[in-house]
């Protein structure tokens, strides 16, 4: 019964929520105010590491308008499991016993308004005995380093973190809380047999997501132990499960709702403010909203800093023979999802290349800094920064064209990737060629400076390329329901979150396609865990592929219930029916057609009834050898992208201007090509931030730039002169209509492509991000 003429799929349809967004009418969590709502605010630690001696809240409690005051000690006296954390149970909503970073929440209040809450926070006396602290991953791994976290208790939540499924509560022996290991071939032998061996260390600092909507959660307790939460999260299903665990409630008594989300990029994953809002609401007996400030965002979640040492052996004919990757991830004071970042990016830490001998040791390391978690790409940006910088150094030192060197080594259909998993449907070769063409790649041996200036100022230009791949998170589950109402219109019940990526539109397109409905007759029901079925997370570029499949199955299920009635009315076999634009007809007799409303009327004998279609899409992980990381199936699909950059460097000031930035992503088959290019273009510019501007700066553990005045994200004035978002289509057999996930691949290779272009322009390499004018000047003229 499949529709032979895709009508809505592949069309540049405008976003379904467009009018509501340009008129300011979409609902975000902060627009919601249940009657009687209080405002929760957080008191944070000023010291980076210390033992909590005493917290005196008596004066705050006496302030008029204050309904609840909580500390970590209070949590221990409640009938709850106070520990949250998706990888380890290392974090409580308020610090218990110890503070582990400057900014760690130590107390919270709920009051009638924000002014009163703020006043109450000032009345809390916090006494902390300072402990020695560590701020750098290398210092944190020294044998005598102070321990940030004394015990490791795996959360046991996720099926993909196989190393943590053993459970147990063990004393920590170092600040490394997690190790990902991969062994393929014999690296020592491979390096010995190589013609040249290269060893380099690359690093990047922690950065902050800076999604413009603040974290915001509202909790309301209803009669008979029923908790309702509105929250800005990318993971409503997970939040429900974890709140149910915390308050020892059945999941059916926890309702988590997410309206539109104002950007996420990984910052709004897992539990953030939800438990604290629920705790304050429980104590206060009234609904409580917690909304952070921009300053607090910087102390809530960050993108991991990383130090990566790569040792790579090549043969004279341009092949990679062996690569050793020693990687340290700065996961901050709490692991958050750091181990999953380490794990997932571990698969491809040696790059998207055919390398017979690979060793990867990748560690999540605690430091006394704000916690690091997921950021667009789940670590791929950071490892790509390292391996693509080194690929360029190797190419230029060996006198090879960097594009040709990559094309000679990139993984292709049927190759075995470092994890032992065979590669299928990876359009990386095409992506590299597409971006090289887009910047008119013209490799010149011996990278002499290319002056373009007028002589008075010294402007030089260069070009660089970089590419990357990622495994989509596997195993995972997405479920969906499609309801067809009595008038024939349809609702899509999905727990995927619309956060700007355009998933509402893509999912509506899929349902419209399968039902043959008009797009305007299909509406999304936003995540509401009482009615929308389970979805793992809206992250990791997984929605189009996974939820897309689930809603497609649900729509087909609904259709299969509707069409027997239609077939009867049209005097045709159900298999002979087709539908488009809200009408159903038999292919053999196209002069007669029915609307979905007419079919429903006939089915239920009047304006009544509902047809319910269900879809469940699951992916499975192959068995994995824990010592070698080898698996026959680490992922359900690979995603990939490539970037080429042309830059102009002012050798007097060190300023880098991006002249041309081209990024190509393999989208499989685009459900909405326009929206795909929007994602790729947006990701490209976002990637220029960590490349050139962004860095969280610390002095003795104190963050010195937690505001948009001091922490600069790209603005209109930082745009590349020319931006080219490109798509490559290598359809995936398991994707809906061949589609792949694309939300992240546009950002992977931006920073190394720019760095490689800078190196081409000035003949000097900058091994640490961001590439600031000061670093460029120092690199050109060492002191």
């Amino acid at each position: 019964m499949s529709n032979p003429r895709p009508a809505v799929i592949g069309a540049d349809v405008p976003r379904v929520e467009g009018i509501d967004k340009v008129t300011g009418h979409v609902t975000f969590v902060d627009n919601i105010e249940p009657p009687g709502m209080l405002h929760g605010m957080i008191r944070r630690s000023q010291v980076p590491h210390g033992r909590i001696r005493r917290i005196d809240t008596s004066r705050a409690r006496q302030l008029s308008g204050v309904y609840a005051v909580l500390t970590g000690e209070d949590l221990l006296r409640m009938d709850i499991d106070p520990y949250i954390g998706p990888a380890f149970k290392d974090q409580a909503p308020l610090a218990i016993g110890k503070v582990r970073y400057a900014g760690d929440p130590v107390a919270a209040v709920a009051a009638v308004d924000r002014d009163t809450a703020e006043e109450a926070l000032d009345l809390i006396d916090v006494e902390v005995e300072e402990l020695p602290a560590v701020f750098d991953v290398q210092d944190a791994l020294r044998p005598d380093a102070p321990l940030v976290c004394e015990r490791l208790v795996p959360a046991g939540t996720f099926a993909d973190l196989i190393e943590l499924l053993g459970g147990g509560d063990v004393p920590a022996t170092s600040n490394a809380c997690f190790q990902y290991k991969l062994r393929r071939g014999d690296v020592a032998e491979g390096l010995r047999r190589s013609d040249r061996v290269f060893e380099h260390t690359f690093s990047n600092p922690p950065t902050q997501h800076s999604d413009l909507e603040y974290h915001c959660s509202i909790a309301q307790w209803e009669a008979s132990n029923r908790l309702q939460v509105w929250t800005a999260t990318q993971s409503p299903s997970y939040v429900r499960i974890m709140l149910a665990n915390m308050f020892r409630l059945p999941e059916s008594r926890v309702r988590v709702r997410v309206p539109y989300l104002g950007g996420g990029f990984g910052s709004k994953l897992y539990m953030k403010l939800e438990p604290l809002a629920a705790l304050l609401a429980l104590v206060a007996g009234r609904p409580v909203k917690i909304r952070l400030t921009r300053n607090e965002e910087f102390f809530t979640i960050t993108k991991h800093g990383l130090v990566a040492k790569l040792t790579t052996g090549v043969t004279r004919d341009g092949r990679l023979l062996a690569r050793d990757c020693q990687i340290m991830w700065d996961t901050g004071a709490y692991a958050d999802i750091g181990p999953r970042v380490t794990h997932k990016s571990g698969y491809t830490s040696a790059g998207p290349y055919q390398i017979p001998n690979v060793r990867i040791d990748s560690f999540s390391v605690y430091t006394n800094k704000p916690p690091a978690g997921a950021f667009r790409g789940f670590g791929i940006m950071q490892v790509c920064w390292a391996y693509e910088s080194q690929m360029d150094i190797i190419a230029r030192e060996m006198g090879w064209d960097p594009v040709e060197f990559r094309l000679k080594n990139v993984l292709r259909e049927g190759d075995v990737q470092a994890t032992g998993t065979v590669v299928h449907s990876l359009g990386l070769d095409q992506c590299v060629r597409a971006v090289a063409d887009a910047v008119a790649w013209d490799y010149r041996e011996a990278s002499a400076p290319h002056p373009t200036g007028d002589g008075a100022r010294h402007l030089v230009r260069g070009k660089g390329v970089a590419c990357s791949m990622k495994a989509v998170i596997t195993p995972s589950v997405s479920a969906a329901t499609v309801l067809v109402h009595s008038d024939g219109s349809a609702s899509v019940l999905s727990s995927s979150v619309e956060m700007g990526q355009g998933s509402d539109t893509a999912l509506c397109q899929i349902v419209a396609e399968e039902l043959g409905a008009r797009l305007q007759d299909v509406a999304i029901v936003h995540p509401d865990t009482d009615v929308t079925p389970y979805d793992l997370i809206t992250a990791g570029s997984r929605t189009t592929f996974h939820m897309g499949n689930a809603v497609r199955m649900a729509a087909i299920d609904a259709r299969s219930q509707l069409w027997p009635t239609a077939a009867e009315l049209l005097d045709a076999a159900p298999d002979d029916l087709t539908a488009q634009d809200g009408r159903v007809w038999a292919r053999t007799a196209s002069d007669r057609s029915l609307t979905h409303g007419q079919i429903m009327m006939a089915r239920f004998g009047g304006r009544a009834g509902t047809i319910e279609g269900h879809g469940l899409f699951e992916t499975h992980h192959g068995s994995t050898d824990l010592d070698t990381g080898q698996s026959d199936r680490v992922t359900a699909h690979w995603m990939c992208g490539a970037t080429a950059a042309e830059v102009e460097v002012d050798t007097d000031t060190g300023q880098v201007r991006i002249v041309n930035l081209a990024t190509a992503v393999d989208v499989g088959n685009a459900i909405n090509p326009f929206a795909c290019r929007q994602q790729i273009g947006g990701a490209s510019v976002q990637g220029t931030g960590p490349a050139l501007l962004e860095e969280m700066l610390f002095e003795a553990g104190q963050l010195t730039n937690p505001s948009f005045v001091d922490y600069k994200i790209p603005s209109f004035l930082d745009l590349p002169d020319r931006l080219q978002p490109l798509t490559v289509e290598d359809p995936h057999p398991d994707g809906p209509y061949g589609a792949k996930g694309i939300g992240e691949a546009g950002i992977f290779a931006i920073a190394p492509a720019i760095a490689n272009a800078v190196a081409d322009a000035v003949g000097a390499r900058i091994p640490s991000l961001p590439i600031t004018p000061e670093k460029v000047l120092r690199a050109i003229a060492p002191p």
Binding site: T23, L212, G262
Partner: protein, 155 residues
């Protein structure tokens, strides 16, 4: 201390007593219920809270409600008339000038003010005018296209 304020918002007259420290954004969002205006940074550098006061762009996160006395304020909710979107709103839809929608009200009001001031701006003039409006999703280039095409009448 509270101040008696009388002003127009989207053509409607409002009179209220606001605490002298009350920010305009809080009055707009929480007293008048016009939640299209967004708080993005709280220090006047991101533009998400942009509204028009007597036709001029202001950061409502920095402006006291008391200072709006006697002004005509336009928020994003006031841009469409009788169900008809303003040209710039149509441009943002047609050319994809938004993604998550948080910065969008501020971007659109800033762009609207630009086109009032300079009906056919160059790309550099668009960038210069819009630099105070941050966006983390779109990469700006579709916003520039939306403004440029709207100015060209292609909406």
């Amino acid at each position: 201390m509270s101040v008696h304020v009388r002003f127009q918002v989207n053509g409607e007259v409002h009179e209220l007593d606001a605490p002298d420290s009350r920010l305009l954004i809080d009055t707009i969002r929480y007293d008048l219920g016009l939640t299209g205006t967004k708080l993005g940074c709280g220090v006047g550098v991101c533009g998400a809270c942009t509204v028009l006061a007597d036709g001029k762009m202001v950061s409502s996160c920095l402006m006291l409600t008391a200072m709006a006395d006697g002004s005509e304020i336009t928020t994003i909710e006031g841009l469409a008339h009788d169900g008809e979107l303003a040209p710039i709103q149509k441009g943002f839809i047609k050319y994809g000038g938004f993604q998550c929608g948080i910065c969008t009200p501020g971007q659109i009001l800033a762009a609207h003010a630009l086109l009032q001031d300079n009906p056919r701006p160059s790309e550099d003039e668009i960038k210069e005018w819009m630099m105070g409006n941050l966006c983390r999703c779109t990469g700006y280039y579709k916003i520039i296209e939306s403004i440029d095409r709207t100015a060209a009448g292609e909406v």
